[in-house]
Amino acid sequence: MDTFSLLLDGLAVAAQPMNLLFALIGVVLGTAVGVMPGIGPALTVALLLPVSLSFGATGSMIMFAGIYYGGMYGGAISSILLNTPGETASIMTAVEGNRMARDGRGGKALAASAIGSFFGGTVATFGLALVAPFMVMVALSFGPAEYFALMVLSFMTVSAAFGGSVARGLTALFLGLAIGLVGIDKLTGQARLAFGVPELRDNISIAVIAVGLFAIGETLYIASQKFDVNEKVEAVKGSVWLTWQDLKRCIKPYLRGTILGFGFGPLPTGGAEIPTFLSYSAERKLAKGVAREEFDNGKGAIEGVAGPESANNASAAGTLIPLLTLGLPTSATAAIMLAGFQQYGLQPGPLLFTNNPDLVWGLVASLFIANFMLLILNLPFVGIWVKLLMIPRPWLYAGILTFATLGIVGAEGSVFSLILLLIFGLIGFVMRRFGYPLAPVLVGAILGPLAEEQLRRGLMINRGDWTFLFNSPIALTIYAIAIAAVLGPVIWRALAPKGANTAFAMDGD
């Protein structure tokens, strides 16, 4: 069947009232957490992981994707009005966006970002629908050697691209791999690292790891810092409607941003940081006339908001390509979404497209709907989101902690899982304090057991001969990309201007 008819079928799935409701819940939650600095889509999806078990696979994946997209929209609001990016993906938006807000053009900045997010998200979702079937065809020919190579690629790139140092990224990865070992070995039934504790014999749930590292760890980290009371929320000034003149200035940045975002999204470079940065610097370089003057005099140029905002939403769509077709997460949120699939016994990859076309195409179609919902939520109702920034921190973080433990207690049903949760929270806290990225831990814990299975299956077919790993040209190509991906960020950091480096010290959502 061709993509178009599959997409129409998907639209029928996505338009079911329950799924529309899940999409709406997703985008509302996503925007809300996107607005609030410190909590992002990765944490939110992790929190909902245990609770979502009663929603069904399609419903919860639609909701998770809505949260991912919504987070990208919402992040712009706090960037522009507060000069504190809600997400790492919105760091570049804060530069020109906040200047525009101080110049009394906050409304225009918000509109440019909402329309840009819509444009980037929608175009890139089309791209996703077109590219995914080809990826599936390629992936169908993969054997254990290629899959193992892909996982190595994922390990390398996730560790190298997130966080400030390759060594810390890889340390985090190995910590994740170690956590993934705990439990009964699938192939032989051997209990590993269980130490006679019955709860440890059946693997540590990904929800406990994710919620512990992100929710508990983040709360502890925020608690350890002195509260900065000097944050100033700019009031929304000026019309949120763009004139034809404004829109004309935005069109080219939208196009360039979308191409950059969609191009970098599927690459395992760790989310939206690189494309948004490239988009911003491209707009700055290409600016002429009024825009040139606004960039140079610090008044805030609309192009600097339009480009990065379309880039970050386009990258969110791009990220879904390797996630759905190969089962490879390239951002923290994607890694937790992968855990969401696994929770339903589904393994993303080419087989998902043949076995569960309803789910895959329903999810893709729902992304279009989610984008429309977000455009409406973000243009006329922007004032409501700003109010979220006023929630006092004690109540906010106490609430997050309550939700975190509610989900774990409800899904796992044991006090032991709460003890594990606290341990992972403390690990996450120490890691945040010492500048370790968290995403590689998750990717290691999720993909580690899968990589081990491929490795041992390959060894079994080849009677213990390790060389099978390096006999396939596809696998060798993938290893080459993996090496380039590790060296790439090192070179990138050396070349990038000083300010850009801070973006890499944070976690990628």
Partner: protein, 174 residues
């Protein structure tokens, strides 16, 4: 410790050895201990013969070796002070928040139910983040948790630990 970090970091280039970062060294020790534990555990598996020639121990050995390598790398990071500068730590809020989770664990172990446990967690956490007095935050937490209990237990059918409070509450709804 943190103020020391900044002085050394600023006045000297990163290559020159100064006082090592003791926090970083502790992490290195933790990683090494973990590697040893995994190695020891994997060595205890019974030997099996199979076509693969490698059993369940092969991946743990690889992981343990990797952890050991990065334990050594971490020692270098710590000695050369390559960790990003840390803000000075304010302990009381961290202890309150960690204590909040411990309190929930304790209350659940005594079988007092979700609402009291979760309410105490909420109260301790809010207190830790600077909201006083404690009795107020705990009461707010218990009310909030009661609403969540009704929503998730009766609405979504999530099974949450039941104690005396929950039994009374469910009784009211019947």
């Amino acid at each position: 410790m943190a103020s020391e970090t900044r002085e050394v970091g600023e006045s000297r280039p990163p290559h020159e050895p100064g006082t090592p970062d003791f926090g970083g060294l502790a992490i290195a020790i933790g990683l090494a201990a973990m590697a040893a534990l995994i190695w020891w555990d994997a060595s205890s598996y019974p030997v099996r013969r199979s076509y693969a020639q490698f059993g369940p121990e092969i991946f743990p050995f690889l992981v343990a070796a990797g952890l050991a390598v990065f334990a050594v790398a971490t020692v270098f990071l710590a000695v050369r002070r390559r960790f990003p500068p840390r803000e000075e730590m304010t302990y009381p809020p961290v202890i309150w928040v960690a204590g909040a989770v411990l309190a929930e664990i304790a209350i659940l172990t005594f079988g007092l139910g979700f609402i009291l446990a979760s309410g105490t967690l909420f109260g301790f956490a809010a207190r830790g983040m600077g909201r006083k007095p404690l009795w107020l935050t705990v009461i707010v937490g218990i009310l909030f948790s009661a609403v969540l209990y009704i929503l998730f237990r009766l609405g979504l059918g999530l099974s949450l630990p039941t104690g005396p409070v929950e039994r009374t509450l469910v009784g009211l709804f019947r």
